[in-house]
Subunit: 301 residues, 2 copies
Amino acid sequence: MEIKTYLNEQKLAVDGALKKYMLEAEEENGLFSAHIEAMRYSLFAGGKRIRPILCLAAGAAVGQRPSPDADLLSIACALECIHTYSLIHDDLPSMDNDDLRRGKPTNHKLYGEAGAILAGDGLLTWAFDLLSNSEVSGLQPETRLVIINLIARAAGSLGMVGGQLLDISNENKEFPFETLCAIHRSKTGALITAAILAGGIAAGADQAQQDALRRYGEQVGLAFQIVDDLLNATSTTAQLGKAAGSDASRGKATYPAFFGIEATRQKAATAVEEAECALNIFDAKADPLRAIARYVLTRSH
Amino acid sequence: MEIKTYLNEQKLAVDGALKKYMLEAEEENGLFSAHIEAMRYSLFAGGKRIRPILCLAAGAAVGQRPSPDADLLSIACALECIHTYSLIHDDLPSMDNDDLRRGKPTNHKLYGEAGAILAGDGLLTWAFDLLSNSEVSGLQPETRLVIINLIARAAGSLGMVGGQLLDISNENKEFPFETLCAIHRSKTGALITAAILAGGIAAGADQAQQDALRRYGEQVGLAFQIVDDLLNATSTTAQLGKAAGSDASRGKATYPAFFGIEATRQKAATAVEEAECALNIFDAKADPLRAIARYVLTRSH
C-alpha cells in the first residue's frame, strides 16, 4: 500500500466529517459565530489528523467494520477536537508563547488570549458532545461510555493536561531521563494510545487485541515524540511550520539533549520495530497501522 | 423545611463526594500533585454548590431515588467541576482579571496563568471522566449518555463557553436588552437548567416532568443571575468575597443598568414565582426546589 495516498484519503474523510459536524453546530445559532469561527480556524489550520487516522486504522485492523464508517469517524473527530484544543492552549503567551503553528498565526494572535482560551474550552467540550451524541453514533451505549472514559482519562489531569504542566514546569531545569519519559507518555503518548484503543474498542476488539493495540500505541506514541524532538532540533522553521530550535532555546529536555542525534534516531527506529511487533496477532487488515508506524520515522514535519 | 439546614446538609454531601473522588484521583499518581493541588484549591474554595444541590433536589422531586444517592452525587460533582473550571478561566487576566473569588486569591494569583488554565482544563476533562466512569455510577448507559450530552451541550460553545465570549466581547458597548438575556441564558442559565434536568433524568423523570424541570430551571437561572447583578451593584467587596461594583466599572450591561434597582428586584421576584409555578405538577417532594427558588431572592452573597 502507498502510505501517502492512504493518509490523504483518511484525512479527507476526517476533514469531511469535521466540516459536516461543525456546520451543523454553526447553523444552530448565529450569536456565537465569532467563537465558532475561532474554533474552526484552528481545527482547519492544516493538521495531519494523525490521531483520528490512527483511530480509524485501528478500527480497520480489528476489521469488523468498514473503514471509515460513521461511528468511528465521530470518535476520530472528537479526538482531533481535543488535540486542537491542546495546541491552542499550549501556544498561549503564558505557556509556550508561540506565534506560528503549521505555518499560520496561532489562535491567540488572531482572536486574542481570551478568544483562544475559550476556543480551546469550546473544542474540548464539543468533543464530549460529539462522543455522547446519539444522533452521530450508533455504537452500543456501554461501548461509547468506555470510549468516553478512556479518552477523558487520557486527555485529563493524569494524562495530557498533567503532562503539559509537567513539561512547562520543568523548563530550564535538570531532570532525570525518567521525567522526560513521563512527560512524553502523559503529554503526547496517552492521547495517541487512547485514539488507537478507542478505534479498536469501537470495532469490537477482544482483550488480546486491545492489549496489542495498547502496546502498539505506546511505541508509536514514543516514536512520534522522539521524531518530534529530532525535527525540532534539526529542521528550519519553514520546514516545520512552527518555531524550530525552540526546545533548546526554552531549555526543554529532549531525546537529542540526552542522547545526541544519532542514538536518538536509533531509539525511534527501535520503538517503531516494537510497535510493528505488537501487531503480530493481526492479519493484513493491520497493514495501515504498520505503514503508519514506519511513516512516523520518515516524516519531515 | 429550614432551607439553610437543607442547603448545608446537601453541601456537606457534595463536598464529601468531591473529596472522595479527588482523593482517589490523587492517589493514582504523585507526579501530577502540583496540578491536582491547583484543581483542589478552587474546588474547595468555599463554593455554595448551588448547581449540584439543584441537581440533587431535582432528583428528589422526581422521587424515585433516595437523596442524595451515589449516582446523583457523581453527576452533581461533575457539575461542580465544570462550574469551578469556568470560574478559574473567567478570572484570568485576559478575561475578567479578578484577584479575589469567594474572599480568597483567584487560582492564577497562586498558581500562575498557565497553572490556572491547566487547572481549569483538568477540571473540565475530569467532569466527563466522572460522568462516564462505570465505577462511580450505576445508572443505565443510555441515561448516562443523555446526561453527558445534555451537560456538554450546556457547558459548550452554544452555552456557557459561548456566553462568556459574548459577555466579554460586549463590555463597554451599548447593546439591546435581548443581548443581555442571551448572555445570561447561555453563560449562567444553560448549566443551571442542565443541572436540574440531569438530576430529574437520572431519577427517571417522564417527559412532562422534564418539561416542568426545564421551565423551573430557566426561571431559577434567570432569578439567580438577576440577583447576582443586584448584589454586584449594591454590596461591598467584603460581603461578596469578590470585587463589588465590577460590572459597572467594566461597562457590563446588567439588569440594574437597564431597569434600575427596584424594578430589577421585582423582576427577580417574578422569575421566582414562575419557577414555583412550573413545579405545580410535583408533590411535596419538590419542596426543596421550591425553597431554593425563594432562597435565591434573599441570598446576600
